[in-house]
């Protein structure tokens, strides 16, 4: 294997382990520890993609999270993973990646024609090019934009990988393991603080991996290895690599994504692919470092133009040369460090320095090494299409406005350094307003709003000595606030080369007669001319300029482009950068997998599933389940090839004729206890509760303060100061909160306690004319006759040795009972009821039959008590006490609630007695009236009446009381149906309520 650009004696990759991978279908080799970027560069590959708008060739620009170009699509175990940064993704055996945004191939891309149609793609082209004619939008423009948009293609398959969430608490979270992160973590950990140190790269050390420095008589790399090893051995420290802290939220909650398996051929057993950490930190030290700023010149997006720090890291960390004829274009000393590294590895660089006569240790060292340096020189334009082949360079005047002596020189890469931009994203997300620092031409954090401090180069400290000193101090200071251990470690001595000041120059003027594209934002193809145009068109606020031109948008969020964009706006506007300000930094700092955000909450796990103790029996007996909130309830029990309609009809009929049993465990149950319980219920419910005797149940309706019905249910007085309240399944949690609100905040003087007992009781409703006969057999020792247990009566019984509670209440309108036993005995109870009930032709019934039974009885449920109805609307006004006060009573006398034609519940029967009325249909007088047709109300629930064998619906309509007997129409525009109907009483079956009392 020959890798033309791999160096022999440098780098941290494991040369003993060769790894093969494919890029665009072609096989390449790299070493363990390589990223896709380093391995491809080692193989001389620089063309990896096409740009977003003009489809210009794209190579590598950076070496980490800031990468704007090398966005690839990864194929792993037949899964597609788009938006992979080649500079971050480590290679593994069998890795497959391909280029995006190019067709048919990265080498020959049809879309590149956009490059020649530039006049159609100016800033804001979305708003201009695709406007006219309007009829083109749907068929031509939209499909075109959709095809062109985005990087890569998301997989539409179910992601089989596992992602986890983890919650962690610590004294101190440190984001980044460069010199400041390591030093502060060490100082804080030695002072007894519980520390989490997060590093987004696989290797710890940050800039120490690539800089030529000495700390405590060790090289930077040795020192960082020593510190990390010691930190890892400490029980109060968590050290994580491949972990990006991407969001800073309220009250020092930070979120970190840990890429556990992304660098492996497949996720290891018992480990997730990624883990999302929610970290609540008492203090945060942001040591996220800084990102090198590009210089702006003609065709500065050509593959081969890259950050000089990236070129250095490719050499020192990966042992890879980005070129063999490098041109270094710099306005500060950082470029020299890269040049020196080239020289040490046998490559002769040429330095173009925009400064006139800088002097520093590093400049002197470069000169002494014999490196050719041209001062007051700039790159005018890169030449070459798919790779840099040469560069036009020129001498620049002292005022940086005029170019002279333009000449073309050969080179195969241009390493640019426009000084450094602190990564203030996390600080900014925490609410810290930044300030502009003239000395470094960049923003640094200002005053902390939360418990955070920014240290090191993220705070604009660019010498190692300052950084280390600040980090040791801060690490000690913030940890001591928490631990008060006063254990201060001594600081090591630091040896580094002194640098000279950088030049504020950032953009090369165009030579006369040339119109090179000079790019600011490399991911979105935003050039100098786009910003100029936006400003000419009146966009002034930097937030508007961003959105109009897309400067600083997309996956890299302008990590390399923001400051140069601000420089340009302030130059044109004749302002200084701080006046222009910067756009808001929002989380996430880097793209995060949707899978990691969702975690384990996928599919069935997206919410809890609650099952009754009888669930297994239902399953065994062919129940078809339905979601009722988080509960699973049997909808019907399927026999043979029955449909839902047939089965529910059979079940409901059997209740009316014989006896049925329904699992009502899901009903909310609340124990209300205390000497003031009766008084409390009297205030909560609309009807009177003070005189309910022990052993009796009562139906009650509770309102919200605005007079709307909140819930209904029966409550039974178990003993003097003990009530058993039931609520609907859906409202159980809300009702409990509601009761607690009044007891704790409004009437704290009432001596009452409430607690949910929903899960403590299993419930079975036994309904039908045979129910008493069945009950007599189930409870042979109890008197369950009409006298012994009258309607709305309650007694305790013995169910084959199990204590049970028997309530004579009915939702179906039939003679019915509800039997409750402790949940553990639920299944026993159910099996006994089925077994003993056989001789009475018992059948279990599900929620569908339950609905049918209650609808034809005119009993209201959630579809009528829908948060818009007052008791009158649901025909519950008889339960509203005129004598006493209760929650929501005062609202009922509001004028709109008392007007005579107020909506009221009615029954609806189709005239043809065969057409079912869709739920949600409108009731109208004239189906042919001009639209919008005034509606009288809507159909709230529909069923097939088993009593009369025809469709029946409930509706809530205006002046319902006086509509009974009228012939109207039910219209469903959704189902395109108009059905002539007759309005009848909502009590369709047994209106006198004889059966429940029989």
């Amino acid at each position: 294997m020959s890798q033309d650009f791999r160096l022999d004696n440098i780098g941290m990759v494991n040369r003993d382990k060769k790894i093969s991978f494919t890029f665009n279908g072609k096989k390449y080799f790299g070493y363990e520890g390589d990223t896709i970027a380093s391995a491809l560069i080692a193989n001389g590959v620089h063309l990896v993609g096409r740009s977003f708008k003009y489809h210009r060739p794209r190579g590598f620009f950076g070496v980490g999270v800031d990468e704007p170009y090398a966005i690839l699509q990864l194929e792993r175990n037949n899964e597609r993973d788009p938006n992979i940064r080649a500079t971050e993704q480590e290679i593994f055996e069998g890795l497959e990646v391909k280029s995006v945004n190019c067709w048919p191939s990265v080498n020959f891309d049809i879309g590149a024609i956009n490059n020649f149609l530039k006049m159609f793609f100016p800033a804001g082209f979305y708003y201009k090019t695709f406007m006219w004619p309007p009829s083109f939008w749907y068929k031509i423009y939209e499909p075109f934009i959709r095809m062109a948009a985005g990087f890569g293609e998301a997989s539409i398959k179910h992601d089989k990988e596992r992602y986890e969430h983890k919650y962690e608490y610590c004294d101190l979270l440190i984001t980044g393991s460069g010199p400041s992160g390591l030093a502060s973590a060490y100082a804080a950990a030695k002072n007894g603080a519980r520390v989490i140190l997060a590093e987004d790269k696989p290797r710890y050390g940050g800039s120490l991996l690539t800089s030529d420095v000495n700390i405590g008589n060790q090289t930077g790399v040795e020192w960082s290895e020593k510190i990390i090893t010691e930190l890892k051995s400490m029980s109060n420290v968590i050290v994580k690599n491949r972990s990006q802290v991407f969001g800073y939220y309220d009250h020092n909650m930070l979120v970190m994504s840990e890429r556990i398996s992304d660098h492996l051929p497949q996720t290891q057993k018992y480990l997730p692919k990624q883990r999302l950490w929610y970290i609540r930190a008492k203090e945060v030290l942001i040591s996220s470092g800084s990102i090198e700023r590009p210089l702006v010149f003609g065709n500065n997006d050509t593959p081969g133009v890259m950050l000089s720090s990236a070129a250095k890291e490719y050499m020192k960390v990966y042992g890879v040369l980005v070129g063999k004829k490098p041109l270094i274009f710099t306005n500060n000393d950082s470029g020299y460090e890269t040049a020196i590294e080239f020289k040490k590895n046998g490559v002769n660089p040429l330095i173009l320095d925009t400064r006139k006569e800088p002097s520093s240790d590093i400049v002197t060292e470069a000169k002494n090494l014999g490196i050719e340096i041209k001062f007051s020189h700039v790159v005018v334009a890169a030449k070459g299409y798919k790779k840099v082949k040469s560069a036009d360079i020129a001498k620049i005047s002292d005022n940086k406005k005029d170019l002279s002596n333009i000449e073309n020189i050969e080179c195969d890469c241009i390493c640019v350094s426009g000084f450094w931009t602190p990564s203030i994203h996390l600080a900014s997300q925490s609410g810290n307003k930044s300030e502009f620092n003239e000395k470094i031409d960049a923003f640094i954090p200002k005053k902390s709003k939360q418990k955070e401090n920014t240290i090191g180069s993220a705070n604009g400290k660019f010498t190692l000595e300052e950084t280390i000193n600040e980090a040791f101090d801060k690490g000690y200071e913030v940890s001591n606030k928490i631990t008060e251990n006063n254990n201060k470690v001594s600081m090591p001595t630091v040896v580094e080369k002194k640098s000279s000041e950088h030049d504020k120059f950032w953009c090369v003027p165009l030579p006369k007669g040339k119109s090179y594209k000079r790019f600011l934002d490399f991911q979105n193809d935003v050039a100098v001319t786009d910003i100029e145009l936006a400003l000419r068109e009146g966009f002034r606020s930097i937030e508007h300029v961003k959105r109009y031109t897309t400067l600083g948008m997309a996956t890299d969020q302008g990590k390399t482009s923001n400051l140069n964009g601000l420089q340009l706006v302030s130059d044109i506007e004749n302002k200084v950068v701080p006046q222009v300000g910067h756009t808001t930094f929002r989380p996430p700092y880097t793209p995060v997998s949707i899978g990691a955000i969702v975690g384990r909450e996928v599919g069935k796990h997206s919410k809890p599933t609650r099952k009754s103790p009888m669930h297994e029996w239902h399953e065994k007996n062919n129940a078809v389940f339905v979601d009722a909130g988080v509960w699973l309830r049997p909808r019907y029990y399927k026999q043979g090839n029955e449909t839902l309609f047939e089965a529910s009809k059979r079940e409901a009929k059997n209740v009316r004729k014989n006896v049925g049993v329904c699992d009502v465990t899901t009903l909310g149950k609340i124990d209300v206890k205390g000497p003031d319980a009766a008084e409390f219920l009297n205030r909560v419910y609309t009807n009177a509760w003070l005189k309910l005797p022990v052993g009796k149940a009562r139906y009650g309706v509770m309102l919200r303060e605005d007079g709307i019905v909140m819930d209904d249910g029966t409550t039974t007085r178990i003993s003097e100061n003990h009530y058993h309240m039931t609520t609907t399944t859906a409202q159980a949690a809300n009702v409990l909160s509601h009761l607690e609100y009044y007891l704790q905040l409004v009437w704290p003087g009432l001596n009452v306690n409430v607690v949910s007992t929903t899960e403590q009781w299993a419930g079975a409703a036994i309904a039908g004319p045979n129910s008493r006969a069945l009950l007599t057999k189930l409870f042979p020792n109890s008197d369950v006759s009409n006298e012994g247990l009258p309607f709305m009566g309650y007694k305790e019984g013995d169910l084959f040795g199990i204590p049970a509670k028997i309530y004579r209440i009915s939702f179906s309108g039939e003679l019915a009972y509800e039997v409750n036993v402790e949940s553990d005995h639920g299944n026993f109870m159910w099996e006994k009821i089925i077994e003993v009930g056989k001789e009475f032709q018992i059948q279990p019934y599900g929620t569908e039959a339950l609905s049918t039974l209650r609808i034809e009885m005119g009993h209201v449920a959630g579809s009528e008590l829908d948060g818009r109805t007052i008791p009158h609307d649901a025909s519950l006004e008889g339960l509203v006490s005129k004598k006493k006060d209760f929650i929501g009573k005062r609202s009922l006398s509001r004028s709109s609630f008392t007007k005579p034609d107020r909506e009221k519940i009615v029954g609806v029967v189709p005239l043809d007695k065969t057409t079912s009325i869709p739920e949600g249909s409108y009731i109208v007088k004239d189906p042919k009236a001009k639209l919008p047709n005034p509606k009288l109300g809507h159909v709230s629930a529909s069923c097939w009446s088993v009593e009369y064998d025809n469709p029946f619906s409930l509706a809530i309509i205006k002046d319902g009381k006086n509509m009974i007997g009228q012939k109207l129409f039910a219209m469903s525009p959704l189902k395109n149906k108009t059905i002539p109907v007759e309005i009848v009483s909502s009590h369709y079956v047994d209106p006198e309520g004889k059966r429940v009392r029989a």
Binding site: Y167, H251, G431, E740, Y741, R890
Partner: protein, 89 residues
């Protein structure tokens, strides 16, 4: 995610709580005659200041106690929390 000090349980993450709105609202006493205007104010009118605000939170996945939280609505800073029956400053 806010970190709320529950006077009964200690500091807990926001996802254990349910928001309960303006805590300065006082319900008119039972059986008291109130005008439409007065009742409307109680049912519908809520303060929504930018800045310091006394609000209710229900520690729904914890001790199930309603608490009062003095919070800055623009910065989310929490100054003090009170038990339901505690007098606020």
């Amino acid at each position: 995610m806010l970190y709320i000090f529950c006077p009964h349980c200690g500091s807990r993450s926001q996802n254990e709580f349910a928001y309960g709105g303006d805590a300065t609202v006082k319900r008119p006493e039972l059986n008291k005659e109130v005008s439409d205007q007065e009742w409307d104010n109680f049912v519908y009118l809520r303060k929504s200041p930018r800045g310091k605000h006394l609000e209710l939170w229900h520690h729904i996945s914890g001790c199930r106690q309603w608490i009062k939280v003095e919070r800055d609505t623009s910065t989310h800073e929490i100054f003090k929390t009170y038990k339901a029956d505690e007098l606020t400053e």
